[in-house]
Symmetry: C2
Subunit: 321 residues, 2 copies
Amino acid sequence: MAIRPAEQLIHKAAWLYYAHGLRQDEVASQLKISRASVAMYLRKARETGIVNISTSTQLFTDDVMARKVEDAFKLDAVWIAPENAYVADPSTDIAVLAASVFLELVKKGDRIGVAWGRTVYTIADIMSYADLQDVTVVQLCGNLGAPYSYRPDQCTMEIARRLNAKGLNFYAPLVLSTEELAQGLRAEPVIRDQLAGISDCDLALYSVGAVDADSHLVKCGALTPAEMTALRKQGAAGVIAGQVIDAKGEVLDCDYNRRVISADLASLRAIGKRLMVVQEDSKLEPLLAAIAGGLCTHLVVGAHVAERLLEHAGAASKKAS
Amino acid sequence: MAIRPAEQLIHKAAWLYYAHGLRQDEVASQLKISRASVAMYLRKARETGIVNISTSTQLFTDDVMARKVEDAFKLDAVWIAPENAYVADPSTDIAVLAASVFLELVKKGDRIGVAWGRTVYTIADIMSYADLQDVTVVQLCGNLGAPYSYRPDQCTMEIARRLNAKGLNFYAPLVLSTEELAQGLRAEPVIRDQLAGISDCDLALYSVGAVDADSHLVKCGALTPAEMTALRKQGAAGVIAGQVIDAKGEVLDCDYNRRVISADLASLRAIGKRLMVVQEDSKLEPLLAAIAGGLCTHLVVGAHVAERLLEHAGAASKKAS
DNA sequence: CACGGCTCTCGACAAAAGTCAAATCAGCGC
DNA sequence: GCGCTGATTTGACTTTTGTCGAGAGCCGTG
């Protein structure tokens, strides 16, 4: 296989084209190949992250609303995707923004924790490629043998692939049938090491789930709709990395949570940058819970959710005074 | 001036085009402007660093020779520009590479020390734009009222401008006529603070000058050719940030050095990443001195100099054994 | 209020980049 | 040795992008 020379050529072509600003035909004659090949190499270079094209996400932090949300909830940084999007699908817009923000936050040598969900998978799916060799992507929670394409391990691996990073998977079920078994598995060296390594992460990427019948936990069979309703009554406000949290952002004391294998919230809070992405307008309550629990330092949301966050903050401060 | 809406438009256009991958005509219809304007906005976006296109410099570190030089001289990283360049001017090639490497090393929030010289100015000149608001570029040595376009303050300001960073200039002459005056000026609060702030830098960018009649010090009138020759006899091996160093990379004990206002070498050594760029083949001796003095952790050189570095290292180790 | 001077915007053309089917080449089993 | 398979490369074609001069809008000035 002539992959070595090809790799070299891709690098050289990318170098001449992007760094030196030569035209494709000039590159072609320098490298003594046809221009069409140059075009192909350049596409590969972009796809593999040999060249990085990134747009500043400043536009979305400059927003006054973003500043207000930052202040109101004491977050490190907030990005707001305009709702009156210029593009067809507003939820895609949030994911594209989230992917850019994510890439901006990642540094060389980082260890990144990734949770699971439709949102995270969408982000992974549209994320552009980058070449960050010494980055590790770890899975934050156990697996779910769901028929979905956004299984936890898929999210992790896809992001690792895009970044050209190492992917560290987590081969345990998210939820077991008994508490004892869960405890036993958590004590298992392979699993224990994985869980222990989570707090060493520099950056976490996750979303928050709603506590309703549409939740992934229900769709994947981890919980029945009835159990979900029951959890709601017990004070469940959201789902983070497979665990059910209450309105204060603490793990809900319930049978289900005790059977889950996932990063405990203290480990998550130990991660410096916790990037939370919320696409759906309906996830206001879970998001508030996550913020209350200090599970989020960096936030990407749509304008609509941002507005409602501010309304809520305003109401709360009024009540307090 | 309709510059505010324009700024917004540039951001939006860049966002839709680069992040969402729309075509220019699609962007144009979304934004309700002509495609020609979109093309113009995109150019501006590239020029101002709203979008970043960077190519991985891996190709040049992958080189086995680069590894050998790293090992032989205990450097953190070495990049080697191939001498049989694909481009017209080999020295430009080194500068382009150096600029890429430099941009790769800069992080948000960094403080960067920049020295002066043709090499540094060339790098500044071809460096692409970036948007790093919270970066500070400081000048490492005093000014020289030369008729050259690569005055120390110019180098600093140009790099600051390209990075969209703050530029901190150094308004003192590089060399004074008496030692007393130099001492007095160094004690001056404005100057003292500047000099004291140098060791807080995260990254330094400089080259090394040769001790000959072609040196900038001679061309700018700081030293006469005769003085230069005399210094050589006293053991001068190179020039760093306006100061004359000996073969061990220490400040040469001479009248000239005592009259200079510049970063002292200890401050330079305190900077974490010291990127040295050498274009000319003739600068082998100064480079060896700089390396010996621990003034360089990251190195960008042409293949020819790299070869000679290795020869030298080989000879030295043979002699030692 | 008309007048330059200024920048921004547009349409049309030229240049460059992307794409695809056909051709070429290397490796491999028969 | 021969022909097959699959990947790579090429030339020709189409689409997309860059550029330029003309014209439109805006402001301060006489």
